[in-house]
């Protein structure tokens, strides 16, 4: 039996190896064949042979950035309230709200971005008109997606701070806000930073929201304008994979898919390893 189980565990290593092999292989295929100027071509139009990496990278960062602007205040605020202020009854009522929000699949939020956020929020904020597809709506929806994740990890970190530290603070004549902000949050800071990193990593890898709401199907020019369309690494990948039966267009379109996938994998892996470091240092302290 032991061998059976060991085989199962080893499978996880195999999967990682496969990911790396498959992706790196084709990615190398791409990068070795592509003309380097095509990588700075002013726009991402893979089927026409324009592979402007900065376009999709900035698109990803822009939307993830907007998402964090939404998710950090909402997520941390909710976390501090639940950990420090909420009565057990309030906690029992409000925590499930976050859990339900966390279980909403991203395709639903993509719908929400296009059908509600874009008309009701973006159209009002962006003067000079904007298309229905824009990075702002996608960014906000990504923020909504990530909020419960940040809230949950940060709240766990704060909850883990021992009661004795809070007592020491109150015993010195500090009020609740001071204790929360100047004792509990600093004590839980590693976990809170881990929450932010995890949230950001999730935002980078989000696909459906941007595929539906950010526009840029088929290609996009370099843009930093949240009121306009944009393209992320993830949406670029889906655009490449759909389309006609086999990924057609420029011969390098298919390998470019893997190159982008490799970039994404590398970014998120680096962030996740970083967040592990922070989580571990929380455990060491207590």
């Amino acid at each position: 039996m032991r061998l059976l189980f060991m085989g199962a565990a080893a499978l996880s290593v195999v999967i990682t190896a496969l990911i790396i092999l498959a992706i790196v292989g084709e990615a190398w295929n791409f990068i070795s064949q592509v003309d380097l100027p095509a990588l700075w071509a002013g726009g991402w139009f893979p089927r026409r042979g324009m592979f402007d990496i900065p376009t999709i990278v900035t698109g990803t960062l822009a939307i993830a950035g907007i998402g964090m602007l939404v998710a950090v205040p909402l997520g941390l605020g909710a976390a501090i309230y639940l950990a420090e202020y909420a009565s057990p009854r309030a906690r029992g009522l409000l925590k499930p709200v976050l859990e339900i929000l966390a279980s909403v699949p991203s395709i639903v939020l993509g719908y929400f971005a296009l059908q509600w956020i874009s008309p009701n929020v973006i159209q009002n904020v962006c003067v000079g008109g904007s298309s229905n597809f824009n990075m702002g709506a996608a960014g906000i929806a990504v923020g909504i997606l990530v909020t419960p994740l940040i809230a949950s990890v940060a709240e766990d970190a704060m909850y883990a701070v021992p009661r004795s530290l809070r007592e020491a603070s109150y015993g010195l004549g500090a009020r609740k806000r001071t204790t929360s902000l100047r004792v509990v949050v600093p004590a839980a800071i590693s976990g809170i930073v881990a929450a932010l990193i995890i949230g950001f990593s999730r935002a980078l890898g989000e696909t459906m929201i941007v595929a539906i709401a950010a526009g840029g199907t088929g290609g996009s020019l370099f843009s930093l304008n949240p009121c306009g369309q944009g393209q992320t690494m993830t949406a670029a990948m889906t655009a490449l994979a759909t389309g006609s039966d086999q990924v057609r267009g420029s011969d390098l379109a298919y390998p470019s898919l893997f190159f982008v996938g490799f970039l994404l994998f590398a970014f998120t892996l680096a962030l996740n390893v970083l967040s592990e470091r922070f989580v571990r240092s929380v455990r060491l302290k207590y």
């Binding site: 032991r2 189980f5 990682t16 202020y85 699949p105 719908y111 990593s201 999730r202 980078l204 994404l264």
Partner: protein, 315 residues
């Protein structure tokens, strides 16, 4: 902050003056209100979302009733439904359950019960944690390279590999790290006393695991697998990569092998197709599909939590 201890005579008046007069802590109250607003904002967003979906989608159910649930994809909005999508999703879930669950639970059992704390073990555990954080679209890419292209002859010679089998196996890989992690946690929660009691009467490790550890951890393992199912049910991105988005399920009678080697669509990918059409009729279809999706996911999550609470034993 005068040191009362150093003053020679302390009058009650002095003291009362110093410790009385509770000023309303404006700063603290405002802060608390802001935090509550942050939390309630999430609630408001959830409610807005649900209201929007329901208002747009319920019309479809009111007009067509169950017909929506069984109709296939179609270019006519009035005749299109999620029948094929539901079938595809269920087929995928079955494949996931048959592959990811045994492998994931087995791996977790190995890591928690058999493996010693050596560098290779720690490497594997770290590896699994990292896999859990990889965006699901990357798994779609893997599925594309391995199942759709490389293993085409096995997964779907007729459908260029873009088959239920490919989709199911890809989703299984997405879900595998989560299953391993939740099962590991459930196993870790089993008190060591239980294992020690079994070893103490001479049981082998497998006997201990099979007869004592697994039964105790079963509710936790069950909850974890059900939750991961709910998660897999809503996954779309990897399926797009391996070809589930633009495919129809042929309705003719086919054998099992042909079906799983054939093209398909799922509930989320059906929704994805409809969302991309600007006509209002399709928007309503997508909202109706989302209603079905949310109801299913919430029900499955609810069952998982109910089971966890019902069977959690306190020793």
């Amino acid at each position: 902050m005068t040191n009362l201890a150093s003053s020679t005579s302390v009058s009650a008046e002095m003291v009362r003056e110093r410790i009385s007069g509770r000023r309303v802590d404006v700063g603290g109250r405002t802060f608390e209100v802001f935090l509550l607003i942050a939390l309630l904002a999430s609630l408001a967003i959830l409610v807005t979302l649900l209201v929007d979906v329901f208002s747009r989608g319920s019309g479809v159910y009111l007009e067509r009733g169950l017909d929506f649930l069984v109709s296939p994809l179609s270019s006519e909005a009035s005749g299109a439904g999620i029948g094929q999508g539901l079938f595809g999703s269920l087929a995928l879930m079955l494949i996931v359950a048959l592959t990811a669950f045994p492998i994931g639970i087995g791996a977790a059992i190995y890591l928690e019960e058999y493996a010693r704390d050596t560098t290779p073990t720690r490497f594997i555990t770290a590896n699994i944690r990292n896999l859990a954080g990889v965006p699901s679209i990357v798994y779609g890419l893997l599925g594309l390279a391995v199942f759709v292209v490389a293993l085409r002859d096995f997964t779907g010679p007729e459908s260029q590999g873009r088959s239920i089998l490919s989709g199911g196996l890809t989703l299984a890989i997405v879900v595998l790290p989560i299953v391993i992690i939740t099962t590991s946690e459930a196993l870790r929660a089993v008190p060591t006393g239980i294992r020690e009691a079994a070893y103490g009467v001479g049981a082998t490790r497998w006997q201990t695991v099979r007869s004592h550890v697994i039964p105790y951890a079963a509710p936790g393992i069950l909850t974890g697998t059900i939750l991961s199912m709910a998660r897999a049910f809503g996954e779309t991105a990897p399926l797009i990569m391996v070809g589930g988005a633009v495919s129809f399920l042929a309705t003719s009678d086919r054998g099992l092998l042909e079906t799983i080697q054939g093209k398909y669509t799922t509930l989320p990918t059906s929704i994805y197709q409809w969302v991309q059409e600007p006509q209002r009729a399709f928007i309503e279809l997508s909202a109706a599909g989302i209603m079905a999706l949310l109801v299913t996911i919430l029900m499955v999550n609810g069952i998982a939590i109910f089971l966890r609470n019902r069977y959690a034993r306190r020793w």
